[in-house]
Amino acid sequence: MALTEQEILAGLGKIINEITGIPATEVTPEKNFVDDLDIDSLSMVEIAVAAQDEFGVEIPDDQLKHLKTVKDVINFIQN
């Protein structure tokens, strides 16, 4: 069964908190990783790897650079 947006958001919030220390409540769909959350490119790789373990969806590096916002990642995982 496909995960809902809320379920993926909750999972991403937890992952981002563990990797960057940013409170999970700050991780909302409209947030831009670089501009709003100040997450660098290497942390994005760590988040992608952790998201793969959590959701079973691989996010390759050539796709990762196009995922600018939390919502982009949610959409990628859902699709």
Partner: protein, 318 residues
């Protein structure tokens, strides 16, 4: 035809290291490129690095480090019968670096060859040295990692010029009745050959940072564990973990996943930058000099880099 029987084991008798005098700080780089000390430290963990001037080649760096290792071993040049140099930045394709270094150090007519396994090169060369001694092909081997990466760097490219640096590290390896160098765990990932490249003589070093970071933080801790397994050593028994000094975040990630809970983790990158094949012997030499590790303790070495290549082994600290 017969085969030779060498020593039962091999061990490192002494390390030596050399860095060029020129210090380049993050603030120095920030004067010419769009970067900051905070940006560099948070991404790669480097505060400063050493860069050789035009008067100093990777051969000169190797001679300095090799001479120190030889002096530290108490051996004389005539005792060395094999010289192996790990480098990916020779200034010329021929002659090789090893023969020139041997000549400069007064080592007469040794076997002499270079190894190119990039940042994994020292561990490959150390394995070849230990095997040569155990097979009877050599008795004392001078193993050197030397790099002058500064000559292959675009100093306007902030993705690479903040990372790479120059230096050399060396080890004298000799025969031993007990194992002092464990079996190597090595391999390569040629499918990722374009992740770190110097395309041709007119090109600078290019690195796909995210690809390398993902590979290093997900694929290498099993190699580290495999090297421990092959030596029959539990990671908790390690006194030191000396991975290639690529990026502080990679070092900390592998160390965390390895579970080397009692080991001193080499973080020489902070003051040395990434010196490719030189980084492991450079880091361990300095840890020994500072008294951070004791003679007889076990250290896991883990090299990884362009190729992509990787190699690791457990050694007893001299």
């Amino acid at each position: 035809m017969r085969i030779l029987r060498g020593a039962p084991g091999a061990r490192v008798l002494a390390f030596g290291a050399y860095q060029p005098a020129g210090v380049v700080t993050n603030d120095d780089l920030a004067k010419t490129i769009d970067t900051t000390d905070e940006w560099i430290q948070s991404r790669v963990g480097i505060k400063e690095r050493r860069v050789a001037g035009p008067e100093e080649s990777e051969v000169d760096l190797a001679v300095q480090a090799g001479g120190k290792a030889l002096a530290g071993s108490g051996l004389s040049a005539s005792d060395v019968d094999l010289v192996i140099v790990a480098t990916c930045t020779p200034e010329a394709p021929i002659p090789n670096v090893a023969g020139r270094v041997a000549h400069r150090l007064g080592i007469t007519a040794p076997g002499a060859f270079d190894v190119n396994a990039a940042c994994a090169g020292f561990c490959y060369a150390l394995s070849a040295a230990a095997d040569a001694i155990r097979c009877g092909s050599a008795t004392h081997v001078l193993v050197i990692g030397t790099e002058k990466l500064s000559q292959w760097i675009d100093w306007t490219d902030r993705a690479t010029c903040v990372i790479f640096a120059d230096g050399a590290g060396a080890a004298i390896v000799g025969p031993s009745d007990t194992p002092g160098i464990g079996p190597v765990a090595w391999g390569s990932a040629g499918d990722k050959h374009d992740a770190i490249v110097i395309k041709d003589r007119a090109s600078f070093l290019h690195q796909e940072g995210q690809t390398v970071f993902r590979w290093a933080t997900t694929e290498l801790h099993p190699v580290a564990k495999e090297a421990c397994d092959r030596a029959g050593v539990d990671p908790a028994e390690l006194a030191a973990f000396v991975p290639h000094q690529a990026n502080l975040r990679i070092i900390e990630s592998i160390a965390r996943k390895l579970g080397a809970d009692n080991a001193v983790i080499a973080k020489d990158i902070v003051l040395a930058g990434n010196t490719s094949a030189a980084s492991i012997p450079l880091a361990l030499s300095r840890m020994i000099e500072r008294g951070e590790v004791q003679s007889g303790g076990l250290a896991l070495l883990l090299g990884f880099g362009a190729g992509l290549t990787y190699a690791g082994q457990v050694i007893e600290i001299p």
